[in-house]
Amino acid sequence: MNTVIDNFLIPILPVMAFVLSALLLIIIECIKRPSLRPLSNLLGILGPIGAIAATCYLFKSSSLLVFSNAALGVHEAWLGEFINSYNLDEITLAWYWAIGAFSFIGFVFVESYFQESEDLPEILILIQFIAAGMMLLVSANSLLMVFMALELMSLPTYVLVGIEKGKHFSAEASLKYFLFGSFASVLLLFSIALLYSYTGTLQLGQISSFLRAPLGGETSSGILVLAASALFIVAIGFKIGLVPFHMWLPDVYVGAPTPITGFMGSAIKLAGFGLALRLWWGMLGPISSHWTSILGTLSVVTMFVGNLAALQQRNLKRLFAYSSIAHAGYLVLGLISVSKVGSVINHQSIFYYLVVYGFMFLGVFGILALIEKEFGSADISNIEGMGFSNPILGLCLTVFVLSAAGIPPTAGFLGKYLLFVDAIRAGHTTLVVLAVLSSVIGVYYYLRIIVALFMTEPSQKIVLPIKKGSFLFCIIACAFLMFFFALFPNRLGI
């Protein structure tokens, strides 16, 4: 029994926190008593808090955790399977922490956005499952786990995107996301099948050592592996919104309820890149050089498409959707520049960027949710003069925008700097020059937001009502983190 606790229950504690809280919520929801509503809200928030606490506990005691098949008896063979497909290293713990934090802020925003909605408990339950799926995804060590975790993450997301049933855009977005998402899943399955047929295993590490043998480009097996990795790139490209697989992203981000978009853009993107990092360097590492130039080109194309398309937008949700495409471009540049020493992946720069970007995105969409509730849409004309009529929100939005644009002294700048250091180190100087040029384009539309906030006289002065203190606190915390991470980057492992 002790081995079960040590090898199964304790390592998976953060995931369990989400799952348990989700299950409890379901039970409470079945009782259907309005008086239990506060309790369910409280339980909902306990999920992410528990997950963060569990991650901290694992951080402290990580040296005590020893995975070993040897200690297991025969009747615990299932545990061996689990250990083989679950990876708990320092990278995973860092990403767990970020997922917990994003979920926490996402929860607060969702709770205050859907305050009057009947669906709030269901939404909270679904978010718990998404978070559990994301955690499993970034720690997956076998392709089977990858697929299960991906589906656990994706299916509730499809539902959440369309949760505002009355809204026509929401339903369209949900269907679109479902179709594109399941298409990506199918491609992923297909490539898993191809790899399995070649290597006979689902373990990432074993596949990697299989691939280390020289590939005959013309031989059938070589083509097989290349085809499988191409399908992987396409599938992951769909998930992270890489051009040319980005078509769904703006519509889905605009159609989804605003706080849900914030959660998707931060947490799901983080998990998507976590998966990409694992698959790319953990599994396809030996053959990654075949794809570097193609991915590098795609990353630059992604930046330019995202930034150029964002120039045209007046709806802030759509603007930030395109900007998130551009950011995915920078991140892919970071992904191909990651250096690997032995089995240690230097994920710090990309992790830093993802965390900073995530808090930025959450904060922006928190503010946009307020604006959308007040005006019905998040058009750029609705924030005119907001810098002076709502100084706190205006300033926070300014900080987020500056961070997104990568202007010092915000953490967004340091994130870009670190990514570019890695990229130049990996020899992608031309790509970096193109990347900074595209960020000049990006700065223009971010500046338009600052112009609207401070320099345009509003047609009428509107003070946005903030009903909940916790909501405001989370937005200010996100803005504060933009400076905190810039001043103390060692908090994120830099």
Binding site: V432, V440, L447
Partner: protein, 520 residues
């Protein structure tokens, strides 16, 4: 005290900004004035502490660890290159705030913008870490576009965006150059560092990497383009008139007096020491551009009927002189450039101030609205003539020393440069005199002008210090020079030694100059 003097200089404005945020809006102007006056006090203290005569090294160093993995520190220090600019910044700040005393809208934000700008400018000059320098360099843009965009005149948003996009495009390319240097240093020396002084040790291989240009050429232009846009040199100057005309008076003063100086400071701190060979190689381009800038700026200024635009274009012309002085590659030119930077800061800052005073009273800057003001506002007229004289380099005033040294230096290097530049200096006298004639003399044409008030106490408070500086620098430039000469000596020696060792043909010219200098 000494060790934390620079930190105090840097952070006091930030503390002032925080106080402004916390206290009621009506106190904001007072707080910002007091904060900047404390800054002046610290600058005086700095003048006494700074050992120019004994040392050419970085002094008063102060550092905190920041990103140890990459060797990046929060490091401050001062040397002869940054010393005059720090003094200039600190002295111009309270003057700029006084100039905007009439501002009534959104006072708190206005004061905070000014103080953050002060913080960023001080940081830019004091940073010893290239990463920190870049952070301050970009941070400076944010309060500046807000000052232009929120408190400016009609076309302010266009001007603010143009200013930001121009400077940002330049600086983002500088970022790539910084990254390149950063990694080149790591490959050559085996460790990461952000220390600016370390980077001049980085060696470049001369092999062309792209279209016949070596990596040094690219790094050089990465840095230099950013600085030339800021200076601004001829083809990159178009943002300047817009920004100046739309900005409120205080912001114009700071823009002219300090922000433009960052360009030339950057050339001397980064471009030339890091890539001396590339600098020598591209001197023909740089000098041509600066000569075009000198002539073109003066000519366009001559055509203006708006006083502020005239002063803005005169800046293009004057700063062309500064770059020309650097291109001359001799000691006279260098000294002249450094002096001209300070002089231009003081005189054109003062010109913007005077134009602002007139605008405050009359809400116009057009020549045709004025005439005969000498009779209505005799004291104002006196100051305008005095500052214009300083700007057109009348002997005995500050402008003369710098411009004369630059002309001397460029004559030594290439007499042709001096001929062209001198002709433009004549133009400089012309357009300023035309302005004075149109505005101050002749009959009082408009009835509105008859009742204009002469200088108020506030105007006196900002003009008198400037007058003193103009006179002191004109009569005894040694007050400043003796503090910065050692640093200039070593800068010149290091930059030159590097070029003489490594370059072929172009160094002939320099060697000749060195010999001649020794004789002198």
């Amino acid at each position: 005290m000494n060790s934390s003097l620079l930190a105090l200089l840097l952070f006091i404005p930030l503390v002032g900004a925080a106080v402004c945020v916390l206290l009621p809006s009506r106190l904001a102007k007072g707080i910002s004035l007091v904060t900047t006056l404390v800054g002046v006090g610290l600058a005086v203290l700095l003048y006494q502490t700074f050992e120019g005569a004994d040392s050419d090294k970085m002094q008063l160093a102060w550092a905190l660890p920041w990103i140890p993995t990459y060797g990046i520190k929060f490091g401050l220090a001062i040397d002869g290159l940054s010393f005059p600019l720090i003094l200039l910044t600190k002295i111009m700040m309270p003057i700029a705030i006084l100039a905007s005393w009439g501002e009534e809208r959104r006072l708190r934000a206005f004061a905070v913008c000014f103080l953050v700008l002060d913080f960023a400018m001080t940081g830019t000059f004091l940073a010893t870490d290239i990463f920190l320098f870049y952070v301050f360099w970009e941070l400076m843009l944010i309060p500046m576009i807000l000052l232009i965009g929120v408190w400016g005149s009609q076309n302010r948003i266009y001007a603010a965006l143009k200013f930001f996009m121009f400077t940002f495009t330049g600086s983002i390319l500088m970022l790539v150059a910084i990254l390149w240097m950063f990694l080149a240093h790591q490959t050559q020396f085996g460790f990461f560092t952000g220390e600016i002084a370390q980077f001049s040790k980085v060696l470049f291989s001369g092999t062309p990497v792209f279209m016949g240009f070596s990596s040094q050429d690219f790094v050089f232009w990465g840095f230099t383009l950013a600085f030339l846009i800021k200076v601004p040199l001829f083809p990159f100057h178009t943002w300047l008139p817009d920004a100046h005309v739309q900005a409120p008076t205080g912001a114009s003063v700071i823009l002219a007096a300090v922000l433009l100086k960052m360009g030339t400071y950057g050339l001397m701190r980064f471009s030339i020491p890091f890539c001396p060979e590339a600098f020598v190689k591209f001197i023909p381009i740089l000098s041509t551009l600066s000569l075009i800038g000198i002539v073109y700026g003066a000519w366009v200024a001559f055509q203006q009927t708006d006083m502020k635009k005239l002063v803005a274009y005169s800046s293009v012309s004057h700063l062309g002189f500064v770059v020309l002085g650097l291109c001359a590659l001799n000691r006279e030119g260098l000294t002249g450039s450094v002096l001209q930077v300070v002089n231009h800061g003081v005189s054109s800052g003062a010109l913007f101030l005077l134009v602002g005073m007139l605008y405050e009273r009359r809400h116009s800057r057009q020549f045709e609205d004025f005439g005969g003001l000498a009779a209505v506002m005799p004291r104002y007229a006196l100051f305008l003539v005095f500052v214009a004289c300083s700007s057109m380099a009348v002997p005995g005033l500050n402008g003369f020393v710098g411009e004369f040294l630059i002309l001397l230096g460029s004559f030594k290097a290439k007499p042709m440069w001096a001929y062209i530049a001198v002709s433009a200096a004549l133009f400089g006298a012309l357009y300023l005199l035309v302005m004075i004639r149109q505005v101050l003399f002749g009959p009082v044409t408009s009835g509105e002008n008859k009742n204009l008030k002469d200088l108020s106490f506030r105007d006196w408070a900002s003009l008198v210090p400037i007058t003193i500086i103009i006179l002191v620098l004109g009569i005894g430039p040694n007050v400043l020079l003796r503090k910065i000469n050692p640093a200039l000596d070593s800068f010149w020696k290091n930059a030159l030694e590097k070029t003489t060792v490594k370059t072929g043909v172009t160094t002939m010219n320099i060697k000749r100059n060195t010999k001649r200098d020794k004789k002198v």
